[in-house]
Symmetry: C2
Subunit: 408 residues, 2 copies
């Protein structure tokens, strides 16, 4: 049996758990969907509301740096994704940012007309790609079927490849460098969706020569529910960057009140309208935590946690027919473990009733997210024990666990 | 001399001032740009952060109603704009919502190709209209020049007219019923931008048979810096509503994780991605204040405040060449008074230095917003006195008042 106490005692990140407000009696394995609040976020929100909003009022647009928070927070995320300063902004939602960069990519490849994505992609990526294709005559959307390698579909008509770094359903981690090289060699551009990897493992967009990326800040980054997303564009594309959501925050002189649009220089071209400052301040407090984090240590701990969980689940797989969907090879694994089981919905509800919170994705996937910032090996052990007990006792068969809720 | 004490004593809304956190020594005349915090917003933010986010974690998407806040807050704004339940959602930014409804309107009028707007419109409306036109081959943007009545340009090619209810620069209030009737008689659709009217005066979109509307929640609604905007679509258009920002929140079954987009029924088609919940909670507290407000009383007080300010400014106009740009006819006046003056920038900085906060819009407009929820007639008098003193003493000539800041 693994000595979880020894692993936790040797964990270089163990001190970070204290930075988070976690409810008593909960083992939180859903930080891959919504991260918990860093304690500092409460104080920061109060300060922003009472001082900046209440005392500073309109003056805070200048005095408190509200107008450039999109950029300053973007530059802090840059360190986590391997971007240079001035290549990332925090703004809008992942969906809207995908829309912007797909349009931008298509405009950069006017002789090509196909958006290539995966049928198993995170759904909103596909919905937005559909919206882009439908609104641009002649643009097509081509989807790689399950288990069909997307790289095998890249051809001379491919303008842009939209791909998830970690698959939300399976937890598969893609080889960013290899796939980006393959896309670029074919003359196409790549958009990486980092929603399920940023904040959980090291990312190096510029080392991979990636073109565009988007990502979410409320999962592993712990920015708060619905906190604005980020978008990255490699500096070499900035001069030619056009996107149709050309709002006033993307204007070269937003306060000149000119009637004609003239795009800002650089990454601000990917902005659009006024951003929710209070939510951005909570995100800022969440990013402060990462200032102390060595991403290699983060990754090592993540793999240790997910590896332990997989090891503990193996006997349950044999006994109850659970199937671990997430790869065992560490270089192909993100920071969550997905387990297929016919009664996964009910089992997950039974776990949640015991304070072990993961989530479920249709049709049959239980997801367990292991955030290295605040989870311990003993949490992994306790979660696995509870899962074993629920399966062995049949506790998941209680009718209340079959009730479906709107958001699962 | 007007007896401001008597006017304030007779003000039926006088009790509402206590609901707001206003700094000492400030007369805040910029609620038309960023409303001040309702005191309840502080408690609501803290509750949402500590309890919903911190204790509820992912469970709050269901348990705290996060997923339907777009709709529930939209229905509360509906009362303020004359919409029926299910016709309004709070989401994204004004700019992005304009993008959605312009696309939707163009799709509803496939035999027409022109977006008509005003050259003096709020700039982001024009920038977005440019973005829509540029991304839709064959679509044109036509602008009415200053002082050219936009209605005179409506013709058989006009698909949609985008117009501001209150002009941000001049404070002119448009006749919504008359202009909407004119647009509809010509077979076109109308998009009303309510940013500078909502929360300051009664609006009746459905009585006017308006098609679409957008508006901001951080000005007269006091929802907090950058709080998400709202968008209205008349129920009769819902079945045919298509817009290209087709993100997962607009899906008929967002948690079915289908790979194909299928639009939700009704107004949720105008949603896109995940919204910033903390900012929405502050907005909710701000909307609570309006539950007690009779909009006819609000309008009467607004006109009383702006009328008094205009009356007090008349002697300064004669003496110093100030020019009141906002109409004197009450039916053509919004809730702010705009004053043109060559040295308006410096004068406004001198006023701000004395705690009287309005703003400046290029090239020469000082704007004074009069929010009836928390301003008193004596504030109007004090502001006018300070303005007179600054002009008479020449205090605005101090070099520090000429320093330009990023956000004016």
């Amino acid at each position: 049996m693994t000595d979880v106490a020894a692993l936790d005692a040797a964990d270089p990140l163990r001190g970070l758990r204290e930075r988070f407000a976690l409810p008593d009696g909960v083992i939180y394995l859903d930080g891959n969907s919504l991260g918990p609040p860093p304690k500092a976020a409460f104080a920061e929100l109060e300060r922003a509301a009472r001082e900046e909003w209440g005392q500073g009022l309109i003056r805070s647009w200048n005095a408190a740096g509200w107008f450039t928070l999109t950029d300053s927070l973007g530059d802090r995320i840059a360190r986590l994704v391997g971007a240079a300063p001035g290549e990332t902004v925090v703004t809008d939602t992942t969906s809207i940012n995908i829309y912007k960069v797909l349009h931008a990519a298509l405009a950069l490849r006017p002789d090509r007309s196909v958006i290539l994505a995966e049928a198993d992609s995170f759904p909103t990526d596909l919905y937005i790609a559909e919206g882009v294709a439908a609104s641009r005559p002649g643009t097509g959307l081509r989807l790689a079927a399950s288990h069909e390698p997307i790289e095998s579909l890249i051809d001379a008509r491919t303008a842009v490849v939209l791909i998830n770094h970690v698959d939300y359903r399976t937890g598969v981690l893609r080889d960013m460098a290899a796939l980006t090289a393959r896309v670029r060699a074919a003359g196409a551009l790549v958009v990486w969706d980092l929603c399920h990897s940023v904040g959980a493992l090291p990312i190096d967009l510029n080392a991979a020569e990636a073109d565009f990326a988007v990502g979410c800040t409320y999962k592993y980054l712990n920015g708060g529910p619905g906190a604005p997303a980020f978008v990255f564009a490699a500096q070499r594309h900035h001069a030619g960057l056009v996107q149709p959501l050309s709002g006033w925050w993307a204007h070269a002189e937003p306060f000149a009140m000119a009637s004609k649009y003239r795009p800002a220089a650089g990454i601000r071209r990917l902005l659009c309208g006024t951003q929710p400052i209070l939510s951005l301040r909570a995100l800022q407090a969440a990013l402060d935590v990462f200032d102390e984090v060595d991403l290699a240590e983060l990754r090592a701990k993540s793999l240790s946690l997910t590896g332990l969980f997989i090891e503990l689940l193996d006997p349950l797989c044999r006994e109850f027919g659970l199937r671990i969907v997430t790869p065992r090879e560490t270089q192909r694994r993100g920071s969550h473990v997905s387990v297929a089981f016919e009664h996964g919905y009910e089992v997950m509800q039974a776990l949640i009733a015991r304070g072990i919170i993961g989530d479920f994705r249709a049709p049959d996937i239980m997801r367990f997210g292991f955030t290295p910032l605040y989870l311990r090996h003993r949490d992994v052990l306790d979660a696995a024990k509870a899962l074993a007990d629920i399966l062995q006792s049949g506790a998941w068969r209680e009718p209340r666990f079959a009730v479906r809720s709107l958001v699962t």
